[in-house]
Amino acid sequence: MENILQQVGIDNYIYLSTLLFCVGIFGVLFRRNAIVMFMSIEIMLNAVNLLLVAFSTYHQDAAGQVFVFFSMAVAAAEVAVGLAILVAVYRNHNGIDIDNLKKLKG
């Protein structure tokens, strides 16, 4: 089967995931809504995942895909716990504005 990398090239994927990652960073810095920041983190994770898959194909090695699999598992766990924290924060502060969390400073 014709492989996509022969036509698209690994560098295009690198640029794509770099940009995606930067968009994620931008989101984290730009917004103060905790849920949207969460989504931005997911975008960053996905950018990395995408690059892992691309290199997995490039090296023709399954390890990269296995890592992606694990990272998805971790992401799922993270989201579950993170959202639970957010719910707890929301209960206490009646909002999920990230600036409210300044109080957590020691």
């Binding site: 014709e2 996509i4 990398l5 022969q6 036509q7 698209v8 090239g9 690994i10 295009n12 690198i14 794509l16 770099t18 940009l19 995606l20 990652f21 930067c22 994620g24 960073i25 931008f26 989101g27 730009f30 917004r31 103060r32 849920i35 949207v36 969460f38 989504m39 931005s40 975008i43 996905n46 995408l50 898959v53 691309a54 997995s56 194909t57 023709q60 090695d61 399954a62 895909q65 296995v66 699999f69 694990f70 998805m72 598992a73 971790v74 992401a75 799922a76 766990a77 993270e78 989201v79 579950a80 716990v81 959202l83 639970a84 957010l86 719910v87 707890a88 209960r91 999920i96 504005d97």
Partner: protein
């Protein structure tokens, strides 16, 4: 194929931006789903069938549903978020540009290192092969991942439970 890549990439980046820029969290979530689907499209283009399916199930299915559910639970579906101070927003834009510049420049500079891609024709990413790799070589991490999920589940339950301070 290249065209397809560009279209998908455009969707990915566009929806990602929209996710961030939408005022309403519900809209953000919807755009994010779209973004994830486009990424799944990339996986498909790589012929990574297993990941394609897992990705759709985990992200578009589980995670996004969880998020939407939370948003609705908290009744956040309105654009009442106060904007950050203008200074932080400028800082965010600057940081974004800077990171993008640095990362892209880094990769461009290291481009000569990348060899030309060669196909060996070996099957490495069919579900069957992956399953074997996962359950042979990565047996222990796999089990740990399950433990992790279990723990996170317990953690999530504990955290979101209403506290009874007096008890």
């Amino acid at each position: 194929m290249l065209t397809l890549f560009y279209i998908l990439s455009a969707i990915t980046l566009g929806t990602a931006f929209l996710t961030i820029l939408s005022k309403n969290p519900i809209h953000s979530a919807i755009y994010l789903v779209l973004c994830f689907f486009s990424i799944a499209g990339h996986y498909l283009m790589f012929n990574a069938q297993f990941l394609f399916i897992v990705h759709i199930i985990v992200y578009s299915g589980a995670i996004m549903i969880l998020m939407l559910f939370t948003i609705m639970l908290m009744n956040l579906n309105k654009a009442d978020e106060k904007n950050k101070p203008i200074l932080s927003r400028i800082a965010a834009v600057v940081a974004f540009c800077l990171v993008a510049l640095v990362l892209l420049a880094t990769f461009i500079k290291s481009q000569p290192v990348i060899n030309e891609y060669k196909v060996s024709g070996q099957d490495f990413q069919s579900i069957k092969v992956l399953g074997q790799v996962l359950l042979n070589n990565y047996m222990v991490p796999f089990e740990f991942a399950s433990v992790l999920l279990l723990v996170s589940m317990i953690g999530a339950v504990l955290l979101s439970k209403k506290e009874h301070i007096n008890n």
